[in-house]
């Protein structure tokens, strides 16, 4: 009996062992079969997915924390094709809501390649449209209507400019591919955009911690003052209308550290509709005329000529010059702006009446090498190095250049035959307001990244003249403005400055009918806190700077002292004596 049980037990054990062995063999067979490799690869495919992480583009603020460029949520509207139950209805609904043609949507839903699981119907769809569609989906779901089955929305961020066209010339814009064009957006594109990273995102929750964190782009704080920028743009726009000018540019800079407080240029573009670019601009140099367009500035350059002459000791403020109305330089006769003689003048009078003959004489007294040496040191013909993209260099012909002639010494001295950008002039003249030291203009105030703040230090761009020369010329230009009873003056504030009326060079010589008018000025004279450059192209009401650019300067100066809280001179002097 016991033997019988033993045999039966043995049979059962062997049977179970065989079953177990068969299971193991089958497992091994399945694991090593060709199909297994397919299943394994499918498993790997569904174990996760590669995702491209685009960090949130850094924001741009003005110096007072007002957002100039931010990000807004938009949606990618797409369809999971396998879930679509009624392509006709879905195509009709989506074409209605998204403003597409029925055929386009229907083609995407029905004629996409067979291995496509998902198709994007439209990207960058606004919140309002998506909310309407989501509401419709809810209603259909409640009614168990499958017409929008498979429709999905993927949110992401898109660049947005709350101020629309404000400071558009400085900011630049970002296209849908995430690349910045012009201004800050182009110059600091790499910083703002951050580094897009392609990441393998596992679906296995045990591997959740392996997903790396993608840091956002760097946030930038600019030196711009939003309110001043708005005022300056408004003044510029009004000036174009009032004086019938074609275009213009105005810059407000802090001459102590080169911070750009406002920079306006025309035309401006609503940055949220950057597609208008090609209808507004013929070429990139027009996008920001303050830095991108070089022109012959005319008499504002006399400030630099006089600075060089004072610094070398060629003249003093009381040096007299008998103006006969013309002077011959390099065999060519140079005349005054009104072709008249002004008799005996001192150097303040020469600046006050903007006498070409006097300044040409001053340049000849200095000599060619000295004059051009100073102009080089003032940075003419070189970019200022401002942190904006698209800066032009201008042109300073120097002896030795194939197109330089002896007469250029005389004409360059009063701003003819030399081209500069408005910003180059500001940088050069900043030496006069800043104890002889030129500042490098800049727009970036600070960078914010991962909670850390990195301030941008001010930089000096050399000392072309001595502090003594700077103080002397500062006073001369203030006196010349006062004695001229200029329309640039601002009651309560002592200002200094210089007009510039320049003929426009063409292929056939200078245009006899049109001018470019400019004005550079600053204040308060005893402690310059702002410097303003005004440039109007071809004003039609008057060709003279004193009647067009000068009053515009006064308006800008008025708004600047209000918005920067600069008290009148008498208040400041009273506060200083307390």
């Amino acid at each position: 009996m016991r033997q019988q049980y033993a045999v039966r037990s043995l049979i059962i054990v062997v049977g179970l062992a065989l079953v177990g062995l068969a299971v193991v063999v089958q497992m091994v067979r399945i694991q090593s079969s060709e199909q297994a490799l397919i299943f394994l690869s499918q498993g790997d495919r569904y174990a996760g997915e590669f995702q491209m992480y685009y960090p949130e583009r850094g924001e741009i603020y003005d110096r007072n924390g007002h957002l100039l460029a931010g990000n807004r949520t938009v949606y990618e509207v797409g369809v999971t094709l396998s879930e679509v139950e009624n392509a006709d209805s879905m195509a009709y609904i989506l074409s209605t809501y998204l403003g597409l043609t029925y055929e386009d949507v229907h083609n995407k839903l029905t004629a996409s390649p067979e291995d496509w699981e998902y198709v994007v119907v439209q990207d960058y769809v606004g919140v309002e449209t998506v909310e309407s569609l989501q509401q419709l989906i809810r209603q259909l779901n409640d009614a168990e209507d499958p017409r929008l089955n498979g429709l999905g929305f993927k949110p992401h961020l898109q660049r947005s400019y709350p101020e629309n066209a404000l400071a558009s010339n400085v900011l630049g814009f970002v296209t849908r591919d995430g690349r910045g064009y012009f201004g800050i957006e182009e110059k600091y594109n790499d910083l703002l955009a951050g580094n897009p990273v392609q990441i393998w995102v596992p679906r296995d929750p045990n591997k959740a911690t392996e997903i790396p964190r993608v840091p956002n782009g760097t946030t930038l704080v600019l030196t711009l003052n939003r309110d001043l920028q708005a005022q300056v743009e408004s003044i510029l726009d009004d000036a174009l209308v009032d004086y019938g000018a074609q275009n213009g540019a105005i810059i407000v800079m802090d001459p102590r550290d080169g911070e750009i407080l406002a920079m306006a240029s025309t035309p401006r573009m609503n940055l949220n509709n950057y597609g208008n670019y090609f209808s507004l601009y013929d070429n990139g140099s027009q996008y920001n005329r303050s830095i991108g367009t070089a022109y012959e500035p005319g008499s504002v350059i006399k400030v630099l000529t006089m600075a060089a002459a004072l610094d070398t000791g060629t003249v003093r403020p009381d040096t007299t010059f008998i103006d006969t109305g013309s002077i011959e330089v390099g065999g060519i006769t140079v005349q005054n702006w009104n072709r008249e003689s002004w008799g005996q003048q001192n150097m303040i009078g020469c600046l006050q009446h903007s006498l070409n003959v006097c300044l040409a004489w001053v340049a000849t007294q200095m000599g060619t090498q000295t004059f051009y040496g100073y102009m080089e040191r003032f940075g003419l013909g070189h970019p200022t190095g401002i942190d904006l993209s698209g800066e032009a260099m201008g042109r300073l012909k120097v002896p030795g250049d194939s197109d330089w002639y002896s007469v250029d010494l005389g004409t360059n001295a009063f701003g003819q035959g030399v081209s500069v950008t408005p910003l180059q002039m500001m940088m050069a003249v900043s030496a006069i307001t800043n104890d002889g030291k030129m500042v490098t203009p800049h727009v970036l105030y600070s960078m914010l990244r991962d909670g850390h703040q990195y301030n941008v230090p001010s930089q000096y761009a050399g000392s072309p003249i001595s502090a003594q020369t700077a103080h002397t010329l500062n006073e001369m230009l203030a006196l010349s403005l006062e004695q001229e009873s200029s329309q640039a003056l601002l009651p309560g504030y002592r200002l200094a400055g210089k007009t510039g009326t320049a003929q426009i060079p063409t292929d056939y010589g200078y245009d006899p009918w049109h001018t470019n008018v400019s004005f550079i000025g600053w204040g308060p004279v005893d402690d310059p806190q702002f410097m303003v450059y005004v440039w109007l192209q071809q004003p039609s009401t008057s060709i003279w700077s004193s009647e067009t650019a000068a009053p515009v300067f006064s308006e800008v100066a008025e708004q600047t002292v209000i918005l920067l809280n600069i008290p009148p001179d008498i208040v400041r002097s009273q506060a200083a004596t307390k």
Binding site: L67, H156, L157, G451, N565
Partner: protein
């Protein structure tokens, strides 16, 4: 002598050897089951924690996006053009230079914009995880010993 033989026979009794084997086998099975249960428990907890991390990360992304969106919406509502229009509608007008009164406040320093103040406040800490998550067992023992035993 007889007692020794009895004990020896007892120890070598087949049923006793079988029981020892069965005991050892059961011990192994129970041990394996405990380890398996522990493994399952830890794996399940890890999975739940991993899923929570995934969800939290997703929430962070969503909240960051919403923050950016709201900030832009706020900027829209407080843009220069909108504020100017609202001010005019409320009867305000731009100030003229002669209408301003200046008061000298010794030592007054204009406040920095909020965006810059926020940056200084949010300087990240180098170590934010508790020591329990980073300490090895030996380090823990060492720390306890230095502190004078368990507390």
């Amino acid at each position: 002598m007889q007692a020794t033989q009895i004990i020896h026979a007892y120890k070598q009794a087949p049923w006793r050897v079988q029981r020892q084997w069965i005991g050892a086998f059961l011990l192994f099975v129970i041990g394996a089951a405990m380890i398996a249960a522990l493994y399952l428990d830890v794996t399940a907890r890890t999975s739940v924690a991993g899923r929570e991390i995934q969800e939290l990360r997703s929430q962070i992304t969503t909240i960051q996006r919403e923050n950016a969106d709201l900030e832009t919406q706020l900027a829209d509502l407080t843009s220069t053009a909108v504020m100017r229009q609202r001010a005019l509608e409320l009867g305000y007008r731009p100030v003229q230079p002669g209408e301003l009164d200046y008061v000298a406040v010794p030592g007054f320093v204009p406040p920095e914009p909020a965006i810059l103040l926020a940056a200084e406040d949010t300087t990240p800490h180098v170590q934010t995880q508790p020591a329990e998550f980073t300490q090895s067992l030996l380090e823990w023992f060492d720390e306890r010993l230095k502190l004078g035993g368990p507390r």
